[in-house]
């Protein structure tokens, strides 16, 4: 049985108030740095097919990392090995999982964004991995939290 990690363990230290901004599929995504284990240049990844699931996966620190398909939720992922793309290793409830993104724009203080809930009229349970939006400099970003991503990736 997998032991659940306490919040914060295995995450980037001192990162609770930091946000990472990345592009994917035409959308601007916002991740809490405290929910990220690591950021890896995607063109260095070793891709394999998971014998159990038959899905594409990549090897991360010697282990196969689950790579849920977020195409329906975040738009198409960058192609395997695409230049300037990145793998975000996200803390999962039981195990980390990977999210492929394109450019990483940077890491910003959480206070640099304004946050609003997605209007109830636009919510569709099970079809969205974000329920909050962030605004900064005339941009709208989807707030991707680990729990929401994990739920959509199952």
């Amino acid at each position: 049985m997998t032991e659940e990690k306490p919040a914060g363990e295995g995450c980037m230290a001192g990162s609770e108030s930091l946000k990472l901004v990345a592009h994917r599929g035409g959308y601007d995504l916002l991740f809490s740095v405290s929910e990220l284990v690591e950021i890896v240049a995607a063109d260095t990844l070793q891709w394999e097919t998971d014998d159990n699931s038959g899905l594409r996966a990549c090897r991360f620190r010697g282990e196969l990392l689950a790579m849920p398909d977020f195409t329906d939720f975040l738009g198409p992922a960058p192609a395997e090995g695409a230049m300037n793309s990145h793998l975000l290793v996200v803390t999962g409830r039981f195990a980390p999982f990977g999210v492929l993104v394109g450019d990483v724009c940077g890491i910003f203080a959480a206070g640099q964004f304004r946050y609003r809930d997605l209007p109830p009229m636009l919510r569709v349970p099970g079809r969205q991995c974000y329920i909050r939006l962030a605004f900064r400099q005339d941009k709208v970003l989807l707030c991707c939290d680990a729990a929401g991503l994990e739920a959509c990736g199952q």
Binding site: Y27, L74, L118, P119, L142
Partner: protein
């Protein structure tokens, strides 16, 4: 003096013609930025920002026979479910209902499009936003 309920906002003239009760319109913006979002219900395009709050934007599309929303401007309208941005053609105007007449559709194409406003020999589909939004809920 006529009450504000007796006035309609008219947009467009032909395929983009649309009428909406003027008292439901908070503002009209020329070519505002619309942010597309993934996974939202069919019939919506994304959000725009109004008074620093995200407002759902209806899609520029045909919803039913006789109801096509199009245009680069957005009318921010009140509904029972909150504010909604409706794509409209540029150059809207406000008229008294008494200057034309409301005609109930005999084709009964949809509940949302039961009525048309006839004004200067042009037909303006009269938008019933609350009924339309109910039909768009997943």
């Amino acid at each position: 003096m006529m009450s504000p309920d007796a006035r309609l906002a008219l947009f467009g003239e032909k395929r983009d013609a649309l009428a909406c009760h003027a008292n439901l319109i908070e503002a009209v913006f020329e070519r505002p930025a619309v942010f597309v979002l993934p996974g939202i219900p069919d019939g919506f395009e994304g959000i725009c920002l109004f008074r620093d709050e995200p407002v759902p934007v209806l899609g520029r599309q045909q919803f039913f026979d006789g109801l096509t929303l199009q245009g680069d401007d957005l009318a921010i309208c009140r509904s029972e479910m909150g504010l909604v941005a409706v794509p409209v053609a540029a150059g809207g105007r406000i008229v008294e209902i008494a200057e034309g007449r409301i005609e109930t559709s005999r084709e009964d194409v949809s509940e949302c499009m039961a009525d048309c406003f006839i004004y200067q020999n042009l037909r303006y589909p009269l938008l019933d936003l609350d009924k339309l939004l109910l039909q768009l809920q997943p």
